[in-house]
Symmetry: C2
Subunit: 566 residues, 2 copies
C-alpha cells in the first residue's frame, strides 16, 4: 500500500483526552478517531489490525469445531424480559423503539438471542453438543467510557455459546475454549494470565477471565510467585491458619474517641496497630441486616460475603439504617450488645484476636480489650476478606503477588439458567425432555488491540507483534527525488507485494525525519530504508522491536524477510 | 464440515410468511431465521454465503485502490442535523437516546460520518483523491419489511465514499467503481443490468443502479432490445416525435358522464379509445398548484415532473384542494377554464391531440372534441410520462422492453452537497481553500444473497453459483452403517479437506431420501454419493446445476473437482 493512497493521519501532539498509552498512540499513529464518546472509527490501519485479530480468532475457533453465525444487534425486548435482564441489566443496555413502538435492545451480549434460536431449532440429543460463535459489534452504554478502545460503547466482540446434554460435555467444551483462548492471546503476543473469576450476574458457576497484564488494567490479579495460581482478587480465597493468640485477656474498658471514626483514626489516636482493631460493618443482605467483623487491616470482599451467606444481593447499610438499629454512627458501631435480630459473622482472622478495640454503639466512644466469646458472640466464621500481597497462595505454593490486568476474554459455565428461561430443551436417548446445559465464551476483539499496544510500545510509538501488525514492512525512500532511490524503492515495493510480504510504502514528499518519526509511531516490525547506498544496491533494514539495524544488499532482503515472517 | 457438528435446520414446509422463492428457500434450507420482523440471524450456511460475497467485494475494492475502514453504527444526531437529514430522513432512520439523553441515529448510511471524518483529517490536495469503504451492518426501519433478506431492517452493506479535487477525478473514480460493481455482480453469478437511476434525496447527479433481473424485483427497468441502454423506468426519457395529427377539429360539446370518473370508465362509456382522452391531474408543486395534462393511456412520472419544474417536492393534490380550486371532483377536472393562478403544463404527446375528451370542472360531465390552443392554453410541454414497452429506445436503437429488477448496488456522484454541509475542504496547489467533490457507492451485501437465490433455484431448492456456495461438495454416504461406504466416505472427506475443496459431509443417520432432498434444498454445486459401488471404489458425482451425473472412480474424483473449482 502506498501511503499517498490511504489515510494515516498521524499527530505530533498527544490528544488531550487520552490518558493511557494505547489510547494516545492509536490516535497519534492514525489508527482510530473518536466519533462520539466511547465510539470510534477504525481508520485503515486500525481496521487492518482488527482483521488480523479476527483472523486469529476465526482460526482458533475453527480448530475447536465452533461454527460461525451472525446474529442481529437489534434484539426484541421480549427475549430480555424472559430472562429478567430487561430490568436487571440497567442503563448499560441501550434501548430503542421502532416505528411501531416496539421495544428493542441493542445487543450487549447474545445469550437471549442464541438460546432462543437453539431452543427453536435443536430438539434432539443427536444434534448436541453444538458450539456456535460470531464476531460482531456490541453496544454497552458505559457510565464512563474511556481509554479509547479499552472501554467503549460500541465495540467488536467474539461471542460463543455452547449447548450440551451433560455437565461432562460442557466441561469438555470449556476446556477446549480455554485452550483456544490461550492460543489466541499467545498469538496476539500478549503477556496474559487466565484467572479464576466471579460469575457475577450471569447465573453460572466456573469461570476464568483472560487478563492481559498491564498497569492500566482495571482489575487486580492475585497470583502465586511460585505456581500458576491466578485469580481475580475478588475471587482469591485466603487459606491461612491464624496462629493461636496466647495473650492474656484484659478488662474491657471504654475510652473517649471524640470525632475519631475510621479504623485509621482510632488506631492512631489509641496508639494501637490496625491489626488490633475490629472493623464492624453493617450490611444489608437481601432483606435482613448482618454485622460483619474483620481485623482492622483487612478489607471485606462483597463477593465472598455474598457467597458465604448465599445471598442474592449485599450492600453496606446506610447511615440512617445504622443509626436506627444501633443508635450510633456508622464509625462507632461494634459487636458488643448487638440487637437480637442482627446476626454477627466474622472473617476467620477475628477468631484469634485478643484485647481488641472496637465500636461501642455510642458515638465518640470505643472499647478497648474486647474479646470474642467473652464480650460478644459471633455466629459463624468465614473467609470474607480480600487476599493481600504476601499472603500464602491458596494452592499452598508460594506467596501472593498482585498485578493489574485488562480483561480480554472470559470463559463461562452458564449451566441451565438461560436454557430454562428460554425453553432450550431436547429429547434424550430415552425420549425424555431435558434442559440443555450451556457455556459462553467472549473475546473483546477491539479491546485486545488496545491491550496489545499497552504491552508493545516505547517512547516513540507502537511496536506491533508479527501476527497483528497492519503491514510487515515499512518502506521509506530518504530522498524520493533521487532517481536511484525512488527506482530502487519502487522495485522493492513491487517485489515485496509480489512475494506476499505486506508493505506500507511511504511515497510522500516529506522530510526524512518526518517519515522516520511516523514510522516509529506506526510501529511496523521492519523498516527498510532506501538511502544513499541505493546506488550500490544496499538498503538499511531496522527492527522496530529492538532497534537492530543492518545494511543489506537487495538480493539478501527478500530471503531475510521471508525468514522473519514465514 | 460434518453435518452433525453444525446447525442446518432444514424444513419441509414452506414458512407461512415467506412469499418469494429466495425467502422460502433460505429459511427452508436452514440459511436464515427471523429474530424479529425484518431482522434475521444468519445460520452457519447463511454466514458462509455472506462471507463469500464479502470476499468478492473486498477483492474488487482492493483492485481499484479503495481502502477499508470501519465506522460506527451509533452516530451522533449533530452530524445528521448539519446535513438536514435528521429531519428529512423520516422514520426509516432509527433513533435512540443514550444514558445522558444524547440523541443518536443507528447508521442507515454513512455520508455524514465519513465526510465529517475526512473534513477533520484531510486538508490538502496532496491527500486526494481518496476512496474509503467498509462492510458494515446498516439499520433502516422499513415501513413494510418483507421478502426475507431482500428488504430487512438490519442488513449488511458495503458502502464506499470517494473524495476529489475535481469533477474529472470524480468521473474517473465513478468509472472504476462502476467496473468493480460489474465484476462483483458477475462473480456473484447474477444476471444484472446497470441502469440509469434517479438521484432522489441524496442531492447528487449522475447515478446508476445495478439491478439483478428478477420477477420479484420492486423496480421496473426499461431496456432496449437492441442496445445496452437500460434505465430505471422512473428515469427513462421518452424520445418520440409524435406525428402531426391532421384530423379536422370538431365542435366542442358537453356530454353527461353520470358517475364515470376514471379515464377507463369514461373511455368505455364514450366508446372512445384511451388515447383520445386527456388526463388532467392537479399537483401540489412545492407551494403552488399545477395542472398536468397527459394522453389518457400515459402515466405521469412524478420524478420527471419534479425535474421539469425544478421542484423540491411534488404530490397529487387532495380531493379537498381540487374541489376548492375547481369546484369539481378530482375525476372531473380539466384544462378548459382553469383558474388564472394555476399553471397548465403537458406532456409532449398532448401537443398533437385533436378532438379529445376531458373533464369540464363540473361533476358528471365531460367535454368531447376539446382541442389545445383553441379551447385551452398550455404554458409548456415536457417529457413527463413514463416510458412504455414498445416505445423507441432513448438512445435511438431498438425498442423498449420492461424487466423487473432487484437493486443490489448503486454508484452515485454526490457532488459537493455533503462536503459543503460538513466543511470538507482542502487547500489546493495555490493554497486556496476549495470544497471537495464526492462520490458514494453501495452494495447491498445481504440483499445480493437473496437476489442470487432468486436467479438460482428450481422446484427442489437452491443451485448456488461456484463463488458463492457455502461448500463446494455435498458428500453423502447412502448407508453409513455399511462399513465400506462409511470408510470410503470418510476417506473422501479427509482427501477433500486436505486438498482445500470445501465439503459438507452428511454424516447423519438419516434415510437416503432425506439426505438427497436436503442436498437439493441446500444446493451445493456437486453432490458426491457413496453407495453400493463403494466396494469397487466408485462413487456417483451429480451436478446440482443441470442434474448431470456420472459414476467416477475414487482416483478420478479429485482431478475432476479440481478442474471444476480451480
Amino acid at each position: 500500500m502506498r501511503h499517498s493512497k490511504t489515510l494515516i493521519p498521524t499527530l505530533k501532539e498527544v490528544p488531550a483526552d487520552a490518558e493511557i498509552r494505547s489510547h494516545q498512540l492509536l490516535v497519534r499513529a492514525g489508527y482510530i478517531r473518536q466519533t462520539a464518546s466511547g465510539i470510534y472509527s477504525l481508520l485503515p490501519l486500525g481496521n487492518k489490525v482488527l482483521k488480523n485479530v479476527e483472523k486469529i480468532v476465526h482460526e482458533e475457533m475453527e480448530k475447536i469445531g465452533a461454527v460461525e453465525m451472525l446474529m442481529p444487534a437489534l434484539q426484541p425486548s421480549e427475549l430480555w424480559k424472559e430472562t429478567g435482564r430487561w430490568n436487571s441489566y440497567g442503563r448499560e443496555l441501550m434501548r430503542l423503539n421502532d416505528r411501531h413502538d416496539r421495544e428493542f435492545a441493542l445487543g450487549a451480549t447474545h445469550e437471549e438471542v442464541t438460546t432462543s434460536l437453539i431452543a427453536d431449532e435443536v430438539k434432539s440429543y443427536k444434534k448436541l453438543p453444538l458450539s456456535v460463535y460470531q464476531i460482531q459489534t456490541k453496544y454497552r452504554d458505559e457510565k464512563r467510557p474511556r481509554f479509547g478502545l479499552l472501554r467503549g460503547r460500541e465495540f467488536v466482540m467474539k461471542d460463543a455459546y455452547s449447548f450440551h446434554t451433560s455437565q461432562e460435555s460442557l466441561d469438555e467444551a470449556y476446556q477446549k475454549f480455554y485452550t483456544a483462548y490461550q492460543n489466541i492471546f499467545s498469538r496476539c503476543g500478549l503477556n496474559f494470565r487466565a484467572v479464576i473469576a466471579d460469575s457475577g450476574a450471569m447465573g453460572g458457576k466456573d469461570t476464568h477471565e483472560f487478563m492481559a497484564l498491564s498497569e492500566v488494567g482495571e482489575d487486580t490479579i492475585a497470583y502465586s510467585d511460585s505456581s500458576d495460581f491466578a485469580a481475580n482478587i475478588e475471587m482469591a480465597s485466603v487459606h491461612l491458619d491464624y496462629p493461636e493468640n496466647t495473650e492474656a485477656m484484659q478488662e474491657l474498658e471504654i475510652v473517649d474517641t471524640p470525632g475519631y471514626k475510621t479504623m485509621e483514626q482510632v488506631s492512631q489516636f489509641l496508639h494501637e496497630p490496625l491489626e488490633k482493631g475490629i472493623k464492624s460493618l453493617l450490611f444489608k443482605v437481601d432483606e435482613r441486616f448482618v454485622l460483619v467483623l474483620s481485623r482492622g487491616d483487612h478489607e471485606i470482599n462483597d463477593i465472598k460475603l455474598k457467597h458465604a451467606l448465599e445471598a442474592f444481593d449485599v450492600e453496606l447499610a446506610s447511615q440512617e439504617e445504622a443509626s436506627q438499629l444501633f443508635g450510633a454512627e456508622v464509625g462507632s458501631i461494634g459487636p458488643v450488645s448487638v440487637p437480637d435480630e442482627i446476626e454477627v459473622i466474622a472473617d476467620h482472622a477475628v477468631a484469634v484476636m485478643k484485647n481488641a478495640y472496637c465500636g461501642t454503639n455510642e458515638n465518640d466512644k470505643h472499647y478497648k480489650n474486647a474479646n470474642p466469646d467473652r464480650d460478644f458472640n459471633i455466629s459463624s466464621f468465614h473467609d470474607l476478606r480480600f487476599i493481600k500481597e504476601g499472603d500464602p497462595s491458596p494452592d499452598g505454593q508460594g506467596t501472593i503477588q498482585f498485578a493489574k490486568g485488562i480483561e480480554v476474554g472470559q470463559v463461562f459455565k452458564l449451566g441451565t439458567f438461560y436454557a430454562e428461561k428460554l425453553g432450550a430443551s431436547y429429547l434424550n436417548e430415552q425420549g425424555k425432555q431435558e434442559t440443555m446445559t450451556m457455556g459462553c465464551y467472549g473475546v473483546g476483539v477491539s479491546r485486545t488491540i488496545a491491550a496489545i499496544v499497552e504491552q508493545y510500545n516505547d517512547e516513540n510509538g507502537i511496536k506491533w507483534p508479527k501476527e497483528i501488525t497492519p503491514y510487515q514492512v515499512h518502506l521509506i525512500a530518504v530522498n524520493p527525488k533521487n532517481d536511484e532511490q525512488s527506482e530502487l524503492a519502487e522495485e522493492i515495493y513491487q517485489q515485496l507485494e509480489a512475494n506476499n510480504i505486506s508493505v506500507l510504502y511511504d511515497d510522500r514528499k516529506e522530510r526524512p525525519g518526518v517519515k522516520f518519526a511516523d514510522s516509529d509511531l506506526i510501529g511496523l516490525p521492519v523498516r527498510v530504508t532506501v538511502g544513499k547506498k541505493a546506488a550500490d544496491g544496499y538498503v538499511e533494514c531496522k527492527l522496530r522491536e529492538n532497534g537492530e539495524q543492518e545494511d543489506l544488499h537487495l538480493s539478501d532482503l527478500l530471503p531475510k524477510l521471508h525468514a522473519m515472517f514465514n
